[in-house]
Subunit: 315 residues, 6 copies
Amino acid sequence: MDIVTFGESMVVFTPHTRGPLRHVHTFSKSIGGAEMNLAIALARLGHSTGWFSRLGDDEFGRFILNSVRAEGVDVSRVIIDKESYTGILFKEWYYNFDPNVYYYRKGSAASKICVDDIDENYIKNAKILHITGITPAISESATEAVFKAVEIAKRNKVMISFDPNLRLKLWNIEKARKILLDVAENADIVLPGLNEAKLLIGQDDHHRIADYFLSRGVNLVAIKLGKEGCYLKSKNEEAYVAGYKIEKIEDTVGAGDGFDAGLLAGILRGLPLKECGEIANAIGAMAMLVKGDVEGYPYWEQVMEFMGKKDKIER
Amino acid sequence: MDIVTFGESMVVFTPHTRGPLRHVHTFSKSIGGAEMNLAIALARLGHSTGWFSRLGDDEFGRFILNSVRAEGVDVSRVIIDKESYTGILFKEWYYNFDPNVYYYRKGSAASKICVDDIDENYIKNAKILHITGITPAISESATEAVFKAVEIAKRNKVMISFDPNLRLKLWNIEKARKILLDVAENADIVLPGLNEAKLLIGQDDHHRIADYFLSRGVNLVAIKLGKEGCYLKSKNEEAYVAGYKIEKIEDTVGAGDGFDAGLLAGILRGLPLKECGEIANAIGAMAMLVKGDVEGYPYWEQVMEFMGKKDKIER
Amino acid sequence: MDIVTFGESMVVFTPHTRGPLRHVHTFSKSIGGAEMNLAIALARLGHSTGWFSRLGDDEFGRFILNSVRAEGVDVSRVIIDKESYTGILFKEWYYNFDPNVYYYRKGSAASKICVDDIDENYIKNAKILHITGITPAISESATEAVFKAVEIAKRNKVMISFDPNLRLKLWNIEKARKILLDVAENADIVLPGLNEAKLLIGQDDHHRIADYFLSRGVNLVAIKLGKEGCYLKSKNEEAYVAGYKIEKIEDTVGAGDGFDAGLLAGILRGLPLKECGEIANAIGAMAMLVKGDVEGYPYWEQVMEFMGKKDKIER
Amino acid sequence: MDIVTFGESMVVFTPHTRGPLRHVHTFSKSIGGAEMNLAIALARLGHSTGWFSRLGDDEFGRFILNSVRAEGVDVSRVIIDKESYTGILFKEWYYNFDPNVYYYRKGSAASKICVDDIDENYIKNAKILHITGITPAISESATEAVFKAVEIAKRNKVMISFDPNLRLKLWNIEKARKILLDVAENADIVLPGLNEAKLLIGQDDHHRIADYFLSRGVNLVAIKLGKEGCYLKSKNEEAYVAGYKIEKIEDTVGAGDGFDAGLLAGILRGLPLKECGEIANAIGAMAMLVKGDVEGYPYWEQVMEFMGKKDKIER
Amino acid sequence: MDIVTFGESMVVFTPHTRGPLRHVHTFSKSIGGAEMNLAIALARLGHSTGWFSRLGDDEFGRFILNSVRAEGVDVSRVIIDKESYTGILFKEWYYNFDPNVYYYRKGSAASKICVDDIDENYIKNAKILHITGITPAISESATEAVFKAVEIAKRNKVMISFDPNLRLKLWNIEKARKILLDVAENADIVLPGLNEAKLLIGQDDHHRIADYFLSRGVNLVAIKLGKEGCYLKSKNEEAYVAGYKIEKIEDTVGAGDGFDAGLLAGILRGLPLKECGEIANAIGAMAMLVKGDVEGYPYWEQVMEFMGKKDKIER
Amino acid sequence: MDIVTFGESMVVFTPHTRGPLRHVHTFSKSIGGAEMNLAIALARLGHSTGWFSRLGDDEFGRFILNSVRAEGVDVSRVIIDKESYTGILFKEWYYNFDPNVYYYRKGSAASKICVDDIDENYIKNAKILHITGITPAISESATEAVFKAVEIAKRNKVMISFDPNLRLKLWNIEKARKILLDVAENADIVLPGLNEAKLLIGQDDHHRIADYFLSRGVNLVAIKLGKEGCYLKSKNEEAYVAGYKIEKIEDTVGAGDGFDAGLLAGILRGLPLKECGEIANAIGAMAMLVKGDVEGYPYWEQVMEFMGKKDKIER
């Protein structure tokens, strides 16, 4: 397996019109969840990926399970939790750039993720273990599971990639900072956004952010700069990669996970750092062109076409 | 105020197609909740009604508040609970007669209803206090609130009507039986369905069910017999009223609350028992002709037209 | 031209859900109007038809004009009335069998139809002039136009068919009776429904109704009996034709016009009276299987297949 | 009551796709009407408001009544006119910036508004009476009602605010000019758009426009400059307030009424003139972000967040 | 693997309204194909299933591949055919009981199925090979593939089940008869409908039909009798099983495949013949309750609940 | 007849959401086809136009036939081909500027267009024969039909206009070049896009492109420059016309055909060359404001309003 990851996925309800949800009459159903998004994005790019979580024994759990399996992601470690329900969320587009998000996830099946769910063999056979900062935020037991997985990866020399994905709706900054920096320091690759890095380590200069993590043992730091693109730094290299201009953004959710997937795909293929960043930017951009967390993620040949690296695909 | 009632209301998501929800792509939003349904049905019939609950400080709470206020129901006692969220539910039509229902209501704002929310003045100025068996099922604090309201009504000679509305998803039969029979014995009017009466008192003969409650101080028992109609018995009278034949049932949810509203409207207007039952049956039937809990409830002149008591309204 | 007819057509808004319109969020646009319906139905059956009216110089007028022209009906005599607007209506399905209808047609372009709009050449070259009782109901000037058209047809020995189509929303029964019976007595074919015949001539026995018109010079009376089918009587023949059983009626509007079209198609083809009635019943039934006034009208081979007169069309 | 206003409201049909309406298949239903818009906008901002009109005794009238009541606006003075119908309109987006609008309002219930509908007590207990130039345009009787209301307000020292809202579809410029300037000279606050001011007084310089009204006794003139923002002038102060840049305008209808509401909210709260203009601009901008006249109007804390005066609301 | 099957799957476009397709404005996308339907139905019932076909290298091919994989069906043998396109079809509900079907499948990728696509190992490791009469109808090369698969199964003692699925749109009766009877005589289980059996062997008595096949070496014949249920006969046993009454049929397509799946599930579980027929009937019925070929297929516990063999599932 | 043209039209399925089609659930049906688009656009501008093709004897063929007839285009020469089906296509908006297009047209009825379908009288009575490069690309027989039509036009001094409309999905560049240049050299007016001209004659300078065709006997060359507008050159004149800036492009398909229609309308009206180009640009721009090939084409007074040549139309 190229990549293994785990964490909560939810059914996402997308409003058919802009404005406050009380004025929205109809909604469409899709799926979302940072780790699952990444697993799907990487599967489309041609990598073998495994994702697991706990899902409720209900229609929404089955919808998520089937949707992930549809993409060719391995779901053999997913646990159906008969006692809990599957979390859901509603998006709302009104006057902010990013959609507002209303969660129904408290006490969800995924919040019951625990150390017993972590299968050592599954992780040690992966090339990369990907962790996000959302999983430790959902419950104590999930936090413990994260640390167990990290420990297994370290012990088995599985590369760890980490996206802090700070969610202040789920926990407070003090608790988040303590745990997320702990995970980060164990990671080989750290993929923060500029704002969350600032909140976590009190720095808003991307050089200093990169150096902070590099000095603590991280091998590669990739900082998302929003429209500006990204800044990448490893021990020996650094690169700025300008972002794509997009005419009409449909949905920013899932762009960060797409960025991470693009970067990891580049690394798995052994591409030069700058090119990894270019792919990451491209997938982040493509993700925003389509409503939904995962619907906009491309196949490898599509991202190459988008980047102008190959001719338009004749259809 | 003719009637005061309280209890949880939720945002209802109705699938646009039949079948398992994982195969349903789009949903419409509406409102539902037994007590609110009854308050709206009675308001349409021309009665002054008041309903209260706790709602989350979110778009769905505002949607419910506005939708109830829209109908002319008094919402002055509704409490916005800043700490909790508004409950929601999904309906599903597959192979059962009634829709399957998936709740997202655990720990909802309404489950925080408590004795402090019960305003003595509000209840004592009503002619009828309507209680359903759902409210004590949602939490301990709501159970206490129910008993406080009942005590106020009794003390102030406000008539109490009670629909057991047994929900075995929310509590077990032993606990339900104990509390619901306690409330029922304090009520003036009891409005059970045949099946729930059977589960509560172990009788499936409607005469015995009626006598059970009458012998414990209830003045009027109205038993819903499904397609068969209803059986009504008071100390001095009894009546069978045959049900309406409906060509195409759209949604059975809300029919029972509509029945209750029709019966109480008849009583408030001082109509003969049999006529009360006819109106109750008619509104129950009309409710099923339209998707949604409350959308099918008629105005007074419409129910009269439906019953053939007046000419077709020229539009 | 086989048939010429004229009268108001409107844009029809069909609700996407059952129930009171205030609870309906979305609507679809189509067309309707008794005379236009008949012209379209006959065009599909293979006859050359002409229809005219006045339409507003607006998008809805253009929509009607294009929709009728689409069917191959001659629209060369349609007048665009720059001073008036195109009428519209909303359907509502709630607790009545037929949909409720809300009109926005007062002072519409079609209500300005007048004697100057009647082109003698156009009428005298038709085999049949079809008149409905709606046109004289919409305005004085339209009434005059009807009588002018009837006079031209009589003078030129063009057969006149007449469907009373009594609309008590548009005028009162006294006025309607006077004018409609006047037209009827000038007609060769009269196509009343049982209820409207009763209101017009005070008879509810179909034999007496038929005799009433036959004794006043009408050659053929075809009485619609709803689900029961129809009763036809001419000077020399009579026939009962049983109706079709339909599992799920979608929309009754347009069924009567489809019946008329089927009957006239049979007559134009010189078929036996009973067969004319069978085709009429079949088209009336097929019209009800589809939402919309005209959408359910069949092609000739389809009505033959529906009647079991030919094998299932392989598609 | 902080504000009382009256005038026609209609059911608004919004096309689901851009382009000429004949090519649009489906429509959504909502509400609109300048005075009602303002009453709703102010209610959301926390002010007590009352609106009245005449509505037809039909589903669309009930839809409007319920929708306004839903927002907490007082509707106790609304009159149900049994003889007339409720006006409606269709929007169309094609090649113009503002939507085209097709009215079905001639002879509507609201056009029957008359002096008898004006309740002196209702007006004299308000802080502000808000008048728009649409009401006198719909009928003679409505014009008289406007002048009676203005006279009551003047006599009782109720502040009068006036938005000319020139609608040349409803009357010609000569008649409009005469009446609107008459109302304006009686007003304390005049809120014209630049173009309509030009048509009314023949000036296109906003200083001259402001001076024109100030010299005739008006205390505050707020001129809407479109994308440029607004210019405000009272006897002692003046202020320019730059407009907001909006990425994607959904619907410009209702923006002007939102602007008025924001300005009046500022005045009712005693804020400095410039801040009143900022709030007005912000609400005008927010209104355009959502399809529909009223759907985009914010709550007070939302407009503060939009203006950057408070942190992002955590949802 | 319990069952292996192969054959064409198509993207199905379902109209949102009844009536001739020229009047239908919008369509929903789903999947269909007899063999795939069966594989999915059996996977839901808990069996390991494999399905293969040729799919175009296009979005519709990817949609089918992902949708089948979503259900847990093994798709490892599916071939992406870069030269061809994925077939599609449109359903239409008008005046026939079954929907009309319009195919766009000529020269589709699946029609290129050929002997090289048949992997001996894949088939010989299955318990059952399921063949339908559609596959030999689509092309010569597919016919050869069918016979190769049958030969492999016979040689390896893999049970063969066969549903004739006669499609006279795809070939003529003479050619169909020759090939289908050839396949049937090699099969262990034959699952014909009454009408197609009549067309194939000229018998319309189900006893004679069963005996015809039994006498040619078939071990079990299960004849679908439509609403009447089914008739089953093996060498030693026979059983009639009455059908289910369904209130509202949504879509008959897929019912036969569901029936086959239910029967095979019973056989795989070693259940008595009559019970196999009951399960088959139940799944056929459930399939018709939901629009779409596969959407209505149940999980095992759901079919048990539907048959009244277990309590209502609490959700 | 002002213009006669012929070629394939298809039913177009437009996705309701952006993104890869496998993630799109619902689609709308409309029509498209370069020659038909032009005929409709010119009919709206007030010209008499005739279009013909072969259509399948199916619902989609009838839909196209009726839709074209609706617009007042003469369809008397359309042939219903009982042996073939009507072509369809799906649009997809993902990450390219123009939509991706998936065709189902191989062996369609229109591909059977042949010399026998060309009615000499029909063509010789037209002022202009319009040919596009798509028709010779669909089949050999259609190529022959094109040359026959060209020959008739030449012989009868009917002006020939030609849009190369190079479609490399339908044929390869070598074959296309040979045939398209042959047609072009017979044309009076050639209307290429810059890119296709480059592919055809290996020039990318618009002066050289124009001179290439002028030197071969063409009288007028109008080169589409995309957003830049167009460049026109005849023997005596030349003109650049800058393009329109459009805020939100909905659909680029049909813009080129609209451009051609605008240019030919100008020529038919005898307008100066530059004005012809302005109208062409305007219609091309308006076409892009609306989803669908033809929905955005204006009436004459609308294009005049759009160009600012007349006041806003009061509606």
